[in-house]
């Protein structure tokens, strides 16, 4: 029964996220509303970590599988992509490396600076 309830709680919060998306006219997906809501609910102890933990951990663990269908769907969008494929793939690889490096370096530097300030 534990897993049924955990799954129920998670899906309910997801559903409330969908309602929020429906009401609020911003390009923010239901999953982000749900994520923020789940954090607030855990923080305010309305539900405890034990009431969602196992099922939540399971869903996060199998998350990579959930991207396979969308990626296989590239077979279908290939027609519209093939003309600009080369520049797009170059841009995609380079920007991904740039963004990851800049974000990581800046965050790490800021953490170090704050640590120095505290000492």
């Amino acid at each position: 029964m534990k897993y049924v309830r955990q799954f129920g709680i998670i899906l309910s919060i997801t559903f409330i996220g969908e309602i929020l998306k429906y009401i609020i006219p911003l390009p923010i997906p239901a999953s982000i509303y749900g994520l923020i809501l789940m954090l607030l609910i855990l923080r305010s102890k309305i539900i405890s970590l034990d009431q969602v933990k196992e099922t939540g951990t399971f869903l996060i663990e199998i998350m990579p599988l959930m991207f396979i269908p969308a990626a296989v769907g590239l077979l279908v969008s290939w027609e519209s992509l093939k003309d600009i494929f080369i520049p797009v793939i170059i841009i995609t690889i380079l920007t991904t490396v740039i963004v990851m490096t800049v974000t990581g370096k800046v965050t790490q530097l800021m953490i170090k600076l704050e640590r120095m300030n505290k000492n």
């Binding site: 269908p69 690889i93 963004v99 990851m100 974000t103 704050e114």
Partner: protein, 230 residues
């Protein structure tokens, strides 16, 4: 055989899971970054579909139940984040500034490459939301009159590249702090990258999940400003 595969509700899920298992096996055996389980499973499914002449719609009839779980799974990213909440509070400024500079780097580099390849306005705005989560990125592309199907394709490719390169980039550029690693992965390659961050560690995973949401929100504002530049 083809009829059976096209009509089975379970074929899509089974072939996806099988591909992933093969990827895990190869990764364990050869221990090389290129044997990325996600990449292997995508290629395995694509090849299987082409060999058995199964069209994407038939495959997706079963496989869509995997995609269906993506929204609740993203909601659950709040769980590791909640467990690392103190870490978030203690590093709040570093995290926000880090994500902000990452989003700025993404928009500026897309702008620069669009100039270099002489992209049209439509092609340019199509790529602007490439680093963020699909659901937000689609919305932005639509809003700015981009080509939504290409935006989705590029977002997915970005995620896969981030997932494959994350460990190498952190090593080469000396990013050691688990918080910085997680924020970097989530900001650059959204949920697909986060799947890798989760494997790297609890802190990396939690921070990467947080970065998906914050980078997405920053990009909503940033992309609408950058859209005016080309």
């Amino acid at each position: 055989m083809k009829d059976l595969l096209c009509n089975s509700a379970f074929f899509g899920v089974v072939v996806s899971v099988l591909g992933y298992e093969i990827g895990l096996f190869l990764k364990k055996k050869f221990n090389k970054g290129i044997f990325n389980p996600l990449l292997i499973s995508i290629l395995f499914v694509m090849i299987t579909l082409v060999i058995f002449r199964v069209d994407f719609e038939s495959y997706n009839d079963g496989a869509k139940y995997l995609s269906y779980l993506l929204t609740p799974a993203t909601v659950c990213l709040a769980i590791p984040l909640y467990e690392q909440l103190d870490l978030l509070k203690n590093n709040f400024k570093a995290i926000i500034i880090g994500i902000f500079s990452g989003v700025a780097a993404s928009l500026i580099s897309v702008f620069f490459f669009a100039l270099l390849f002489q992209f049209t306005h439509e092609q340019y705005v199509t790529l602007l939301p490439k680093s963020i989560t699909t659901a937000i990125g689609m919305g932005i592309s639509e809003e700015l009159n981009g080509i939504v199907t290409i935006t989705v394709a590029v977002i997915i490719v970005t995620g896969i590249i981030g997932n494959i390169l994350a460990e190498m980039i952190c090593k080469v550029f000396h990013i050691h702090e688990p918080v910085a690693k997680g924020i970097a992965i989530g900001t650059s390659s959204h949920a697909i990258g986060t799947a890798k961050a989760m494997e790297m560690g609890e802190i990396e995973g939690a921070m990467s999940g947080l970065a998906i949401a914050v980078a997405g929100l920053f990009t909503v504002v940033g992309a609408s400003i950058f859209a005016n530049f080309i």
